[in-house]
Symmetry: C2
Subunit: 107 residues, 2 copies
């Protein structure tokens, strides 16, 4: 279950991944969960949030650009990215963003 | 229906709004749609993406911090933010981020 990520005080980085899926979803949910678990073990990982409706949005938070690059190049993640392009996604867009400030509300 | 926003080449800004809802959803969907329509008329608006599952994620894209501030202070939006805290949201977090680069894939 995805909740609001408990990120530290800014600044830090966000990777915003927005995707449209194909009709092929074999193994998708298990692999997505596996990727979240793997990402959480990477140095510099700060948290992740995701939701899917018409499009899917996954935002992962990182301490540095170096941490993002290391995760992008992680070997199992590289193979999964390739499978994503071949099977699961009809289109996606990835944005790398520097989180400058935040504010929150809770009851 | 939310799709991948056709944002221009970076840099630009993103407002990442992650929320948890209460059990009160009276008027929520209509108001959310109205807010997207109003935002799209604001100067500097570049696009919006949203999805809801366990948590809701809405990302709006903007040309500048000034455009974000003007939207935050828009009068109907201000009243809606207050209603959100009183009725619809048990918690939310807003992050202001500077999008430095992006890349995309499509079939």
């Amino acid at each position: 279950m995805s909740v609001i990520a408990k990120t530290p005080a800014p600044p830090y980085y966000a990777v915003i991944f927005t995707s449209l899926q194909t009709d092929l979803d074999t193994g998708y949910n298990d692999t997505a969960q596996r990727m979240e678990e793997l990402a959480a073990r990477q140095p510099g990982f700060l948290g992740v949030e995701s939701a899917r409706e018409d499009c899917g949005i996954t935002i992962s938070y990182w301490q540095s650009l170096e941490a993002i690059t290391a995760w992008k190049q992680q070997s199992e993640h590289l193979r999964t990215q390739e499978r994503g392009r071949e099977e699961w996604y009809s289109a996606y867009k990835t944005r790398i963003a520097y989180v400058e400030r935040d504010y929150e509300f809770s009851r």
